[in-house]
Symmetry: C2
Subunit: 234 residues, 2 copies
DNA sequence: TTCAGGGTATTCTATTTAGAGTACTCTGAA
DNA sequence: TTCAGAGTACTCTAAATAGAATACCCTGAA
């Protein structure tokens, strides 16, 4: 059970469902949906059946039987095998013990922020802040609702965690807005000048001339790519 | 330029590179790497050429020419078209203004945390906390290095942001560890009992009997799936 | 009565994706 | 001198992915 097949976390969700009892694919979807797991696991039909086929091939799930109701399509019922249970454990352990590099879309956007004008960036960041606030309020309300209805917190920690990340994001966005407005974000002057002239010489956006650390050995990532020396071509 | 094609953020990175000047694909990779953009954009050869082909097909980039050095493979040089520039703007604007649902892998893991025993979970969470601390220290050092070498902060905000998220995650993980150890995480007693008996009746992991909000209208997500009524089958 | 609208359950298909593979060049140490 | 090792530049392929499409069922309002 190498981690080569650990691509889609939906596979884990499927296996955990089958841990409970045998189900057919559509029933798995309904279960996950009903329990709001679609908020932490990306869920869609296209992947579902492919993922199950892959689990079947690898012997992690097995076919229990085939049902049929009227002339609706057949429902193949699957169960978790022993090696499936083992895989669930192993996968969970890896997932928790080892942080992986994630690529939140805002990180990409911030990377290339200078392609937008400061004014535009400011407007858009404020818009985002607003959305985040709404999301936060709704999320908190949702959490409170759940609490009032006696669902133990243990079963909602993922929602709590997601909310924390949202809070952190909002806080950062707010700080950024403040600093751009105040002009205390180092580089803002240049950024403004860039967009006041007609032609964007966007080399600067990727900091063409800037001195980047070429070989520091200091990398934020865990097991990132091997460091590379500088190269020139042409 | 609908957002149907907005799948891979590498496409955005490629276009921003070409904003600067025409390049051939491999040169784009080198540029992004040299400037440490691989830390915020998922980068690999397999996708690169496919992504560029797709941009070409949609008229967002165009072929400027083909070079060749010795008997090395040909280098096709691409440039950004006008509609490519527009698309960069539009995409950036959407990316910043509208938060999307993200699926950090820890969220999934927490969702299914009860499949592991509390002791195991605790051990693994501590391991993660350690990794996160290391990553944090390295990231901070990296940021300081950059600052000392005069790179304006504007060009490093994505790293700052990523670090913030890591901090938030670490903080949450620490709190969780504390609460599990102290037994103040509501549901822990049950969780322990579950793993002390032989057979895991894991229905509870997905909280089979629990009352979920079926139709509250309160959803954390922005434009999530339409709310669904409960269903029963079999 | 009939048919819109929503639920059930899966399949299909065009893209994407990851990562290995290929095939060449250059440098420098033994 | 020769050849390992690193870099250059792209291609290939198996697999995964998203989401539309299919095809059926049921309920209830006009």
């Amino acid at each position: 059970m190498p981690d080569k097949f650990r691509g889609n976390l939906l596979a884990l969700a499927v296996m955990v469902c089958l841990y409970e009892r045998p189900m057919h694919p559509y029933e798995i979807v309904l279960t996950l949906r009903q329990r709001h797991k679609e908020e932490s696991v990306r869920l869609n039909y296209g992947s579902l059946y492919a993922v199950i086929a892959s689990l079947l091939k690898r012997g992690l799930v097995a076919v229990v039987g085939v049902e049929r109701q009227g002339r609706l399509p057949e429902r193949t019922v699957y169960c978790l095998t022993d090696s499936g249970k083992e895989e669930v454990h192993q996968w969970m352990a890896d997932l928790i013990s080892t942080p992986t590099r994630e690529y939140p879309s805002l990180a990409v956007a911030l990377t290339f922020l200078p392609v937008l004008s400061p004014d535009e960036a400011l407007r858009l960041l404020k818009e985002r802040a607003l959305s985040l606030e709404t999301r936060l309020v709704q999320g908190q309300a949702s959490l409170q609702w759940v609490q009032r209805h006696g669902l133990p917190r243990l079963l909602w920690i993922e929602a709590e965690f997601l909310l924390r990340l949202t809070e952190a994001e909002l806080q950062y966005v707010r700080e950024l807005i403040g600093e751009i407005e105040a002009g205390t974000l180092e580089g803002t002057d240049f950024w403004k000048a860039l967009h006041e002239s007609q032609e964007l010489s966007l080399g600067i956006i990727l900091s063409e001339k800037a001195q980047y650390p070429e070989e520091t050995g200091i990398r934020a990532g865990g097991q990132g790519t091997a460091p590379r020396k500088r190269t020139r071509h042409g």
